[in-house]
Amino acid sequence: MGDWMTVTDPGLSSESKTISQYTSETKMSPSSLYSQQVLCSSIPLSKNVHSFFSAFCTEDNIEQSISYLDQELTTFGFPSLYEESKGKETKRELNIVAVLNCMNELLVLQRKNLLAQENVETQNLKLGSDMDHLQSCYSKLKEQLETSRREMIGLQERDRQLQCKNRNLHQLLKNEKDEVQKLQNIIASRATQYNHDMKRKEREYNKLKERLHQLVMNKKDKKIAMDILNYVGRADGKRGSWRTGKTEASFFLRNEDEMYKILLNDYEYRQKQILMENAELKKVLQQMKKEMISLLSPQKKKPRERVDDSTGTVISDVEEDAGELSRESMWDLSCETVREQLTNSIRKQWRILKSHVEKLDNQVSKVHLEGFNDEDVISRQDHEQETEKLELEIQQCKEMIKTQQQLLQQQLATAYDDDTTSLLRDCYLLEEKERLKEEWSLFKEQKKNFERERRSFTEAAIRLGLERKAFEEERASWLKQQFLNMTTFDHQNSENVKLFSAFSGSSDWDNLIVHSRQPQKKPHSVSNGSPVCMSKLTKSLPASPSTSDFCQTRSCISEHSSINVLNITAEEIKPNQVGGECTNQKWSVASRPGSQEGCYSGCSLSYTNSHVEKDDLP
């Protein structure tokens, strides 16, 4: 069956299809073919099928069936199955070619029909689904319509209700207004009534008072009196004056005078204050104006180049004003004459300033807009970095807080029943501890620093020693030269040179100088040094060959006074070395006496040696 399906693929030509159909017809069992033909049932085919099964044509009726078919085919417009008869009498013969052609054409037709039918069916299906869709749409829309209609009705109802309410409220408002009016009227009437009543009552009261007054005062109440030991003087020291008709008027006038004086004083005081205030304000105004002018004048060149004429003209006005200002000191004039000028100029300048500021604002905003995009990219990165950093910090802070909280809780748990003071003390202790720690670390740091410094010092000392050595070497070489020079003059010296040559190049040369000064320091060092030490060293010294060797040389040198002088100069340089030695005193205490004494003893020894050498030489 699968093969069949692939064969009937629409991509194939009709020719091959027909062929395949034929082949399939031959191959397949009648039943399956039948089913196939039922599937693609069509009227012309069904006839064929019918004939195929119910034997439309039998052996007996070939002729009839042929004629019938011929008739049928001719009516459908096919060419006749029979050959063209040449005569009437001759029997018409079946034209097989025509039959085959007809059959082929019929088959083609059937194929076409089948295709058409398929198309129609698919279209039908499509249309059916479309129809369904449209129907559903329709129903939906209908529903919507219904709901909206209902909503509309509801809204209309609400609207009606609201309108109703509104009308009611209006009515109420009106009523309230009426009521308010009424109440106000009532209040007013009550007030008038109250006032009226009050007045009436007061009059009655006054009448009563009057009567009481008459009753009480006019009866010459003896009790009303002042019992006084003696009259006291007036506070101002004046004597009370009697009032007479004449003085009454003058008194009155004097009082009036005084009153007006007081009032005048007050007004003068106020005027003064106002004047002062005015002057100050004027000063401020003047200063402001000057500042404005100074602020605006440097810009006037720039704007004139590019900015429109309007500001330029205004600025020229400013210049004029400035000129005016400098010409006349109009500030001392009264306000009325100056006011207009002043206000106008200030206004003008203010306008310029305003426009300028606006312009600046615009520029700033433009710049900001332009630069915004580029900045934005950078800033975003920065921003992200920053946020990351901040987040990290927050995390750290949180952790810190947590640990702190834990600590606090621990403390609370341990000393829960203690009151807050102890907690506070603990806090203080903690704080103290922290501070001590800080101090400790600081000290450590300082110590480190000190050590570093010390190291650098010792290094410097070492370097100094090296330098000194180099210098000494230099000096030695120089001395050598001197010697060499001297030998040319003196014969005796030549012997020494020979002796010297045995040493020349040895590093012990500088030791010679080091120790050469020791004898001079002898008395001092002897007093310091302990005798035990001395004896020890004297014993130990001969063991060291270098000292004994050089002592021999020294003894040679000591004979020459000129060289002794040189030695003294070397000594002058020594103090440096002494200073360097002082840095490591422990060592020096042990070694110096030794070296000194050793040298001394060595010297004495060397004298003997030198004598021996001298003896040997000749």
Binding site: I224, M226, D227, V232, A235, I262
Partner: protein, 418 residues
């Protein structure tokens, strides 16, 4: 802060002399004059009946003791203890008595406000002023003592009479456009007189010394009006408190309102310090709940503060900056408060045993020592601002304050603890 021992007192009658040297107090019918520094009794006078009112003369030489029930006034001299003066108003009765500013005249108001009698201590003369108005504040003297303004009522109309105090001559007499005048008050410079109407109507009138109407101000109509009026010491401002819970400040040039201070239920401005008395911490009394107080403006501090619908709170406004400065909320209703005459410092008492002091630096409360409960009902500052008298129902004591620096540190310590 130190407290003196407690002395007996009756009817809250305890006053410092104007020169600040003496302190007069009353115990039943006895008048006791003490030295302010040593608190030793200098003089003791015995009156005829229980004293109901005392007043020092301006020169601190005389003390007036009024016994309203008997219609009697007795005057005592500090210099001459044997000197005596007794004024009997007889059947006319007596409701009020006061000194004239020169300290040589006594003004007695008879019952029903029939008249005011001016008794002179220098001469035998007696003057009568008829038709004084029975109102809250009907007599006011200028600060220099030269003039007296008196509210009068004749034929159902309000009048104001201005007298020259030196010879009691009538200087001006004019009617005021008020329904029912309630109070009059001179400005401290003595040139402007504020006149306000009854509480039924918001109306305040300002008159010049020569009787010209300078201005009229009315904030609203148809509602309860002015409750209290106060001048600023510089005469620049006039504070008017009214029943709508607001204080309006008028200026002295145009007499228009400069600003209006309400008493909002909730204060949102973080700059304003709200001091609330807290019960939890008895050793502190007052807790600073807000941020440290902002820098206080030098110069004259507010003279206007009020306690209206919220009797537990005292509101302090800064007049230099024209804004609310601090609010003090007490647990019990405020009985009395008074400004220190020398510096911006406010003393408050609430009828309890505590004294509350506020200054721009902070707030503090002090328990008045002594056995039993010393319920401070009233207080008055000494002229120097170094001490004050605290008055309870039948006792009084003096409270001596340290110098400002010490108080400042104390305040700061208080603030630091809270």
């Amino acid at each position: 802060m130190n407290f003196s021992e407690v002395f007996k007192l009756s009817s809250l009658l305890c006053k410092f002399s104007p020169d600040g040297k003496y302190l007069a107090s009353c115990v039943q019918y006895r008048l006791v004059v003490r030295d302010v520094n040593t608190l030793q009794i200098l003089q003791l006078y015995t009156c005829l009946d229980q004293i109901q009112h005392i007043e020092w003369s301006a020169d601190s030489l005389f003390i007036l003791c009024a016994m309203y029930k008997r219609g009697l006034v007795q005057v005592w001299s500090l210099e001459q203890p044997e000197w005596h003066c007794k004024i009997d108003e007889g059947s006319a009765g007596l409701v009020a008595s006061c000194w004239s500013p020169d300290g040589r005249h006594i003004l007695n108001t008879t019952e029903f406000h029939l008249r005011i009698t001016v008794w002179s201590l220098c001469t035998k003369s007696v003057s009568y002023i008829k038709y004084p108005k029975a109102c809250l504040q009907g007599i006011t003297f200028t600060r220099d003592g030269r003039y007296m303004a008196l509210a009068e009522r004749r034929d159902c109309k309000d009048y104001v009479s201005i007298f020259v105090c030196s010879d009691w001559q009538l200087l001006r007499h004019f009617d005021t456009d008020t329904q029912d005048l309630t109070g009059i008050e001179w400005a401290p410079n003595g040139c402007v007189l504020a006149v306000w109407d009854t509480c039924l109507e918001y109306k305040i009138l300002l008159y010049s010394l020569d009787g010209r109407l300078l201005s009229t101000y009315s904030a609203y109509e148809w509602s309860l009006g002015i409750k209290s009026v106060a001048w600023s010491p510089s005469s620049q401002f006039l504070a008017v408190g009214s029943y709508d819970g607001k204080v309006r400040i008028l200026n002295h040039v145009t007499w228009k309102m400069i600003t209006e201070f309400g008493h909002p239920a909730a204060i949102n401005d973080p700059k304003i310090v709200v001091y609330k008395e807290a019960e939890k911490s008895p050793q502190l009394g007052l807790g600073c709940l807000s941020f440290p107080p902002p820098r206080a403006g030098a110069g004259p501090l507010p003279s206007s503060e009020s306690k209206y619908n919220i009797p537990n709170a005292v509101w302090v406004w800064d007049i230099q900056k024209l804004r609310l400065f601090a609010v003090l909320e007490q647990l019990s209703p405020v009985r009395a408060f008074q400004w220190d005459p020398q510096q911006p410092r406010l003393a408050i008492c609430t009828g309890g045993s505590r004294l509350y002091l506020w200054s721009p630096a902070g707030c503090m409360s002090v328990q008045v020592p002594g056995e039993g409960d010393f319920a401070v009902l009233s207080l008055c500052w000494h002229l120097s601002g170094d001490s004050m008298a605290l008055l309870s129902k039948d006792h009084f004591c003096l409270c001596f304050l340290e110098t400002e620096a010490v108080v400042g540190t104390a305040c700061r310590q208080l603030g630091g603890h809270t």
